[in-house]
């Protein structure tokens, strides 16, 4: 890796900015998919119209400009430029050099194609080699096994298990915190 190694380009996907015209309609479809929403968020599921998504994306952009502690990307397929998901570094504490990471692939037909894996690789390089963060945390529900195995494969370790912090489908689930230190990530890549 060097200064001229692209930060936003993988083999399959590319990280881009929000497209306020085109994105809302696609994201609206994702919010109607209960499976995606419940894997991704612990807030109660709520489908959103394209108009609602547009408002939310405008709020997000405003918050990015004001708070300077969020880095948000849209995931596009390189071959046809199709939007397939989003990835972000958020809640960054600049004095402590700590942040959170999360990503989502929206449509079920785009899962298990390696898009998430490639995105996570790019995002880690961005977090550690561009933002110079010391560590990252990822919050993942006990029932989201695919996300756990993806993050573990990049060296994340389970650090906190908040017992029975979630209730879904009439049972309680743990909420897990995974962590990765910059040093561990760099060691891995040697």
């Amino acid at each position: 890796m060097s200064i001229d190694t692209p930060l936003f380009d993988g083999k399959l996907i590319r990280l881009g900015p929000i497209d306020h015209e085109k994105d809302p309609e696609i994201v609206s479809r994702w919010t109607h998919d209960a499976g995606f929403m419940r894997m991704m968020y612990t807030d109660p599921l709520r489908p959103l119209s394209a108009w609602q998504v547009k408002k939310k994306l405008e709020e997000l952009e405003k918050s990015i400009e004001e708070n300077k502690n969020i880095f948000h990307f849209r995931i596009h397929i390189k071959s046809d430029d199709r939007l397939v998901g989003f990835a972000e570094l958020l809640w960054i504490s600049w004095t402590n050099l700590s942040g959170h990471i999360r990503l989502g692939i929206g449509a079920p037909e785009d899962l298990r194609k390696g898009y998430g894996r490639e995105t996570l690789g790019l995002l880690l390089r961005y977090a550690f080699d561009e933002l110079n963060l010391y560590r990252l945390s990822a919050v993942i529900p006990e029932y989201n096994l695919p996300a756990q195995s993806l993050f573990k494969s990049f060296g994340f370790v389970e650090e906190v298990r908040r017992r029975q912090a979630l209730e879904r489908d009439s049972r309680r689930w743990d909420l897990l915190d995974f962590g990765l230190l910059a040093g561990e990530w760099k060691e891995e890549r040697k």
Partner: protein, 190 residues
């Protein structure tokens, strides 16, 4: 029914924003206190800025932040609150601060924590209460253990102070564990 906001050493109250703001501004002179409370840089808050913040909280319907008043002497010595409540999952985070340091290590904080746990489990009917505490705050950890919290993990090196990294510890208590503790305490009473 008994007064659930009253303990053995303290009671939880609502105070006038102006008086509380004056105290908070004084407390912010104690940098150790600030560094136990928050991972953001310690700074001096004016009474005016504290008051704005307090009023904003007090205006919210869903506010569960209290002042801590001693039973003996009626002194306001700190604050405690459930600042984040995840209603659908019935989980929350509790935060506590004793600005008057002469009351540290004497059971006042533990008593306030016991009161708010009772409030969380018997009035708000939550299923669990969570907290985080910095590795260098061992007095805090001991107090939380006394109140019934158990360790659920640690985020490695989450904060940086005095030139080194420190872990942040996560603790939690479940409703069923709290009920068990309550029954044991009842039995022990003469």
């Amino acid at each position: 029914m008994k007064d659930i906001l009253r303990g053995e050493l303290v009671r939880l109250t609502a105070e006038e924003p102006e008086m509380l703001a004056r105290l908070e501004s004084q407390w912010s002179a104690d940098s150790e206190y600030s560094r136990l409370l928050d991972w953001d840089p310690a700074r001096r808050f004016s009474a005016k800025s504290s008051q704005k913040w307090i009023e904003k909280h007090y205006e919210k319907e869903d506010n569960h932040v209290f002042a801590i008043r001693t039973l003996d002497g009626e002194r306001v010595i700190g604050e405690i609150g459930l600042d984040i409540i995840y209603w659908t999952h019935r989980d929350c985070f509790v935060g506590i601060g004793l600005g008057e340091r002469e009351f540290w290590g004497k059971g006042y904080g533990t008593d306030a924590m016991r009161i708010i746990l009772r409030y969380a489990f018997t009035e708000l009917n939550l299923e669990r209460v969570s907290l985080d505490v910095f590795e260098y705050n061992q007095r805090g950890v001991r107090s939380y253990e006394k109140a019934g919290f158990v360790m659920e993990g640690r985020k490695r090196g989450l904060i940086q102070r005095e030139g080194r990294r420190w872990d942040v510890l996560y603790m939690g208590i479940l409703r069923e564990d709290w009920l068990k503790l309550e029954r044991e305490n009842e039995k022990e009473k003469p």
